[in-house]
Amino acid sequence: MTFHPQPQAGEPRPWDFPAPGRGALPNGLTVLRSHRPGQKVVAVEVLLAAPLDAEPEGLDGVATIMSRALSEGTDKLDAEEFAAELERCGATLDAAADHPGVRVSLEVPASRLDKALGLLADALRAPAFPDSEVERLVNNRLDEIPHELANPARRAAMALSKELFAPTLRCSRPRQGTEETVARIDAAAVRAFYDAHVRPSTSTVVVVGDLTGIDLDALLAETLGEWTGKPAERRALPSITSDDRARVVIVDRPGAVQTQLLIGRTGSDRHDPVWPAQVLGTYCLGGTLTSRLDRVLREEKGYTYGVRAFGQVLLSTPEGTGASLLGISGSVATDVTAPALGDLWQVLRTLAAEGLTDDERDVAVQNLVGVAPLRYETASAVAGTLADQVEQYLPDDFQAQMYARLARTGTVEATAAAVSAFPLDRLVVVLVGDASAIAEPVGALGLGPVEVVQA
């Protein structure tokens, strides 16, 4: 073949993260909208100010059961009919409860947005919460728990939350409840939680997609506009503190062929001015398979299919007292668990001692900024980020500004942010794996005291 020199880039076409239109319905519901030409599956996100922290004492999981029960029948349709009507629109409807609140996500072809929005509005406005359906959801949830505990990544996440946070903080405990708390939930508890925390005036709807020919104002007025509820103050959110003293917790899974690693602590949320530098530094450390961690652990040593470093917002508050989880996760072969951790620590030590290079910083910025038009091709990706911003009390142009801020962040700032995100003496290490094979060699690394707990 004839070889040619590496081609140069052409002239970039500008692309900006979409600026949403913002408004409100007479019932107080906040509305964000963004027209995305060509996106024929419309994404709708509804944020309900029903945070996990609002669950009554001993009823962890009630927000989850409530969110699932929203689609189990309304004042017009029973549970089976509701599911059937939704699928007749070609729609999907998911609802999940997390620390900031309940998120209901609808996706539907634009031509059937009217019908699907009607169903969504019914689910929010007049859910039936029938006794027998709630009972079924509770039993179903109880049956799911053993599956979650058997999943190494989820097991590790639960163990880390338990280590980091005081038991009184909701975020120390599983988001969807435990066997003990879920078993106590009934339709009355679900109804009470709904009455206390679900209303249009504290909710937001985000609609994104190709809205050509759709009179969204009229459509919203006759669907979500019919939802009524008494106004209420938003509940104050807890401030989150954590215990990140260096230590190792091994969740024993005898015979496991791999060890699931989750190394973490908490940091500030996206309100902190350091956030862009931290995103950049974390990417250089472990954002992709050419980042520092995988360059050693995967591409040099072959210990893993991949290890990633990340920062993930747990809960934000309007006051800026929120928290995020800073973590490193992946799985490594059982017999190389200690050598892999040793190498991982060496990567962190080298980062602290020598810092990032300008080249690393440049490539990372080019990627993080350059991928924006790809990352936000679909309506659901745009809707998800707009909803995240609302949920985290950030301005609607946060993501748009983020790209400019990343481009302004230098190597020194990125290094400092990554080093202070992952200090060696403040990392909690959770290992889900075969304790008989890994406890002793891991203990010899001196990462901190080692405790073995039963899975």
Binding site: G10, E11, A84, P109, P373
Partner: protein, 450 residues
């Protein structure tokens, strides 16, 4: 009453042109200037079905080696250059093809074409023992992470082995066995490249904010001088009788969280009208929250945490209908099996209702629109129809074909195939103390990056 297609479903606004270079490389182009991005997708007509005994997993291991450098690209340069240009990329391997893809900001399209051509033309200049040994370890850890270290992780492998008996080319899955991965040599990898990685065994699709004339000129410039290679052996015969002719069964006693009933039904080849009918049948019976199995097992009997059907579309062998039921606490498998059989028999007898047809067609239509929502998804579909069925234009009418299927066709395919004598059954019995109820994903492809 049948389902009425939404206006956008007709061809999803999708158009494509097809070209062929002198060396046999087929090039499919599709313009869309709404967003400044462009997708490059390259399908090689080689997958795990082309592997030989003792070398299972080679096609996928080889896919990893395609990211380890080539004539003009050092080490991990392929990943570094694409990501540094603001692009995203990966590769995956399935039974019947291997694909590589980049989505780029539109002004970086030429770089992706240069990179793909460089490795198609000169991979062996960079391939060495060190990268083979390293990626072998990476792939073994991929296998552990996705299959060996998760509950029910080997179910897909076990069912496939039952449904396609030795020496069928689909008897083993793309991930391969640990022993065969250990046995793969540098010479195996070289021979694999020489045999299958040729322009006349590939289709290149470029979709998005592109100038077709310029793109075709770049394709010619970078790929045009790579020589064709005609030494590819015909794949082993994948034909099998229409039905299995008896029920195959395996009981697995493992430390899993709950009992499970899984089964693989032999279904028509992808690309046929019958396979679209089968897709609708499986959707009505086990797709989503209004399906018959969900309503029966999860809602009414409350014997299952999750119950559903999936379809693994295959062109070179019968497709697989995949049943997955995780039992509720205390429920035994025979009760589930009896209920499933009853529902399938009723459906084979009566066929779908008009409402069920409408729902299933609406669901499949939305799934199609989802695939078309990204330039990368569109490029992949164009390659799929070009490689497996010889004509990328078939992608444009795929959803229309699903919407034309009649209820009687759906009933007939269910009656012919969703029967006890046409399935391989896998039963899980937990060995641990705890026992309860849901979630596993069936993987039919392996990736270079997680």
């Amino acid at each position: 009453m049948g389902h009425t297609a939404t206006p956008e479903a007709q061809s999803g606004g999708l158009t494509a042109t097809e070209h062929r270079l002198a060396n046999g490389l087929r090039v499919v182009l599709s313009e869309d200037h709404l967003t400044p991005v462009a997708a490059v997708c390259l399908w090689y007509d080689v997958g795990s079905r082309h592997e030989v005994k003792g070398r299972t997993g080679l096609a996928h291991l080889f896919e990893h080696l395609m990211f380890q450098g080539s004539g003009s690209v050092k080490g991990n340069g392929h990943f570094e250059l694409v990501q540094g240009a603001g692009g995203s990329l990966n590769g995956t391997t399935s039974f019947e093809r291997t694909n590589y893809f980049e989505t780029m900001p539109a002004h970086q399209l030429e770089l992706a074409l240069w990179l793909e051509a460089d490795r198609m033309g000169s991979l062996l200049a960079a391939l060495d023992q060190e990268s083979l040994d390293n990626q072998r370890d990476v792939v073994k850890n991929e296998r552990r992470q996705r299959y060996d270290n998760v509950p029910y992780g080997t179910a897909f492998e076990r069912l496939t082995a039952l449904a396609y008996p030795e020496p069928h080319p689909y008897h083993h899955t793309p991930i391969g066995s640990m022993a065969d991965l250990d046995a793969a040599s540098l010479e195996d990898a070289r021979a694999f490249f020489r045999t299958y990685y040729a322009p006349n065994n590939a289709v290149l699709a470029v979709v998005g904010d592109i100038d077709p004339e310029q793109t075709l000129a770049w394709a010619e410039k970078y790929f045009g001088t790579i020589p064709a290679h005609d030494g590819k052996p015909a794949p082993r015969d994948g034909s099998l009788p229409g039905v299995m002719g008896g029920q195959l069964r395996e009981v697995v006693e493992e430390d899993v969280p709950s009992r499970a009933l899984m089964a693989a039904y032999r279904l028509p080849h992808d690309g046929t009208r019958e396979s679209d009918a089968a897709d609708l049948a499986l959707t009505i019976l086990g797709g989503g929250e209004s399906s018959r199995l969900h309503n029966r097992l999860v809602r009414r009997d409350r014997s299952a945490v999750a119950a559903g059907f999936g379809l693994l579309r295959l062109a070179g062998a019968p497709s697989l209908g995949w049943l997955d039921v995780k039992t509720s606490s205390g429920v035994e498998v025979p009760a589930i099996e009896a209920a499933v059989d009853e529902e399938l028999a009723r459906f084979a007898q009566d066929g779908p209702t008009a409402e069920e047809m409408e729902r299933a067609q609406a669901q499949l239509e939305r799934e199609w629109l989802d695939r078309l929502a990204t330039v990368g998804g569109r490029a992949d579909e164009l390659c799929r129809f070009a490689v497996l069925f010889g004509d990328p234009q078939l992608a444009l009418s795929a959803v229309q074909r699903v919407l034309e299927i009649t209820p009687e066709e759906v009933r007939a395919i269910a009656a012919a195939t969703l029967r006890p004598d046409n399935r391989a059954v896998l039963v899980y019995e937990p060995t641990g103390g705890a026992e309860a109820g849901a979630d596993s994903d069936n993987e039919d492809e392996e990736g270079a990056d997680q």
